[in-house]
């Protein structure tokens, strides 16, 4: 594997007052026990845009993404330092209630993980737990979120069937519907298309393009075409560092860093 100078970086500073920033991180370090997987990443994410995180596997994309809604809190021995700013508050501090925060920063995982409940309950369950009891609101939410996720037509007659009977692509779209039912600000997706066939992937990408009207989306993908097709910004991760962050167009046509150029052109490693 070629070695690259990890000091050679280009991180575009989006937080320049010209646009609205939904979420930003400042010098995030993440360690699993004694092993540090993220060595200080500072990125700002623009509102209502799609940002793609790319990089070789093991470069720390998931780790970084999961620290954004403090999902790593649940893994024993994991430590996250640095600031994660959301609406002027540091999410990575004890003063912010982590459960409340996750309602605003939702997440969809690589493996579709519908609950062993009906399709309807998959979407309404968390809402009910959070206090939404009105039947008409719940019905309405199920319909709109399933429509937004592009699943409504296929399942509208089977809403009370087990969600475990869905195919992989359908299950993943159900997970997206479930996440947006919380009306989050930000949607984090960790390789949501990794287990899907090309047709499901295409549908998913369409869905994401529509969702960005209402949500800020951060998506991990190691499919470069996908990043190129759907994202507005792209961050390139290498060995626990973000080496380049810029508009997707520039990353794919005129990257400023050698490592990025090699990676997007397929000459990496």
């Amino acid at each position: 594997m070629k070695t690259y100078d990890s000091e050679d970086r280009y991180i575009k500073d989006l937080d320049d007052g010209k646009r609205e920033i939904a979420l930003s991180t400042d010098d995030i370090h993440v360690s699993y026990g004694t092993h540090e997987a993220i060595h200080g990443v500072s990125l700002a994410f623009e509102r209502f845009k799609i940002t793609a995180l790319i990089g070789a596997s093991g470069s720390g994309k998931s780790t970084y993404l999961r620290s954004l809604n403090r999902m790593n809190d649940n893994i024993a021995g994991t430590k996250v330092t640095g600031k994660i700013m959301y609406r002027g508050l540091d999410v990575n501090s004890n003063e912010v209630d982590v459960y409340e925060m996750r309602k605003h920063i939702g997440m969809v995982f690589q493996q579709p993980n519908p609950f062993a409940k009906s399709i309807y309950d998959n979407i309404t369950f968390a809402l009910q737990r959070h206090g939404e009891k009105r039947k008409d609101v719940l019905d309405e939410t199920v319909e709109t979120t399933l429509k937004q996720a592009g699943l409504w037509e296929q399942v509208k007659d089977d809403l009370h069937q087990s969600a475990l009977a869905l195919s992989g692509g359908q299950a993943q779209r159900l997970c997206i519907a479930r996440a947006i039912a919380m009306k989050p600000d930000i949607l984090l997706l960790d390789e949501p298309a990794a287990v899907l066939d090309p047709i499901s992937t295409a549908t998913l990408e369409e869905t994401l393009m529509e969702l960005k009207e209402r949500y800020t989306i951060i998506i991990v993908t190691h499919n470069m075409q996908q990043a190129g097709r759907i994202s507005d910004y792209t961050a390139f991760f290498h060995l626990g560092n973000a080496l380049e962050y810029d508009e997707t167009r520039k990353i794919f046509t005129r990257p400023k860093i050698q490592a990025t150029e090699d990676y997007v052109s397929g000459h990496f490693g």
Binding site: R87, G88, E95, V96, D97, Y99, E100, H104
Partner: protein
């Protein structure tokens, strides 16, 4: 919701966070109760069982090696007659004999289930073993009383009550447990071992004997020790067929007794705090300690097995 509201909510302690605290408290309380139970079992049984030695000044060695159990009377020197050896010998005899008979059957059945015919194993033997585990011990005792004891009487003479009958009953009782643990041990031998051996031209039996059983020896021993621990602690089934005579057993077909049988028979007939009662609690303490020793033994075997 506007920005300020969202910020205010983020800074508040949420419903979910209160719920989490509640859950930690409840589940923590449950586990604490269980631990308290374990600790108090040891505390109470030990404090009663040790009284024989500390309050009634019975010599521990005499207790373990004495052959006369008659706590209500004193011997010629004025010492209490609490010799537990007859029961200890009885308990260990039935335990070891049952394990010795059960082991080949358990291994045979387990080999059949994993190596010869997994299909029949799963469809027939597995449910049979589960049902055998489910039969209550008093039922084993009753059948022992009405089938095994007469059988032993007719075949070997004597009253039929005794260690031999106890052994037969315990053999059937521990067989399913030892078998299913042996099955687990055999299943944990990697498939590649078998394939390598078969590829070298070994017959199925050679593979089983030289490869599979060798590789799972420590697991099989663990299963047997576990079965012994069960047999040692079994009370009613044994008590019903062993004859309950507190004499050092001279042969396998004369009435004998075990720690458990003496306890079940005697505890109701003695006054709390009296020497004869304390002496019974000392037997209970022995029964409490034995599973610990079996447990340690199992772990030690497991470690040895893992090291190889």
């Amino acid at each position: 919701m506007n920005n300020d509201e969202i910020r205010a909510n983020l800074l508040k302690r949420s419903r979910a966070s209160r719920n989490e605290r509640f859950g930690k408290l409840i589940s923590g309380a449950c586990i604490t109760i269980i631990i308290a139970v374990v600790v108090s079992i040891f505390y109470f049984v030990a404090s009663k069982g040790l009284a024989t030695f500390f309050e009634d000044k019975v010599n521990l060695w005499k207790f373990l090696t004495g052959t006369i159990w008659n706590p209500s009377a004193k011997d010629a020197q004025g010492n209490p007659q609490v010799g537990a050896l007859p029961m200890i010998v009885g308990s260990f005899s039935v335990t070891f004999l049952a394990a010795i008979i059960a082991t080949p059957f358990a291994i045979g059945a387990a080999v059949f289930m994993t190596e010869i015919s997994p299909r029949l194993g799963k469809k027939v033997l597995q449910p049979v073993i589960e049902l055998l585990v489910g039969i209550p011990s008093v039922v084993y005792g009753f059948i022992g009383l009405s089938v095994v004891v007469p059988f032993v009487r007719h075949t070997f003479g004597g009253s039929g009550f005794g260690i031999l009958s106890g052994t037969f009953v315990l053999f059937v009782m521990i067989l399913p447990t030892v078998t299913s643990m042996t099955v687990d041990a055999l299943k944990s031998v990697p498939r590649a071992y078998r394939e390598a051996s078969l590829a070298l031209g070994a017959t199925r039996w050679q593979t089983i004997y030289k490869v599979v059983l060798r590789a799972s020896t420590s697991g099989i021993i663990t299963a047997v020790v576990f079965g012994m621990s069960r047999a040692f602690g079994e009370a009613l089934a044994v008590q019903m067929v062993i004859g309950n005579a507190m004499l050092l057993p001279q042969n396998l077909i004369s009435p004998a007794s075990t720690l458990t049988s003496v306890l079940t028979m005697g505890m109701g007939n003695s006054v709390m705090g009296s020497l004869s009662n304390n002496a019974l609690w000392s037997l209970a303490l022995l029964l409490l300690i034995m599973p610990l020793i079996f447990n340690i033994l199992i772990r030690w075997i497991g470690k040895k097995g893992a090291m190889r």
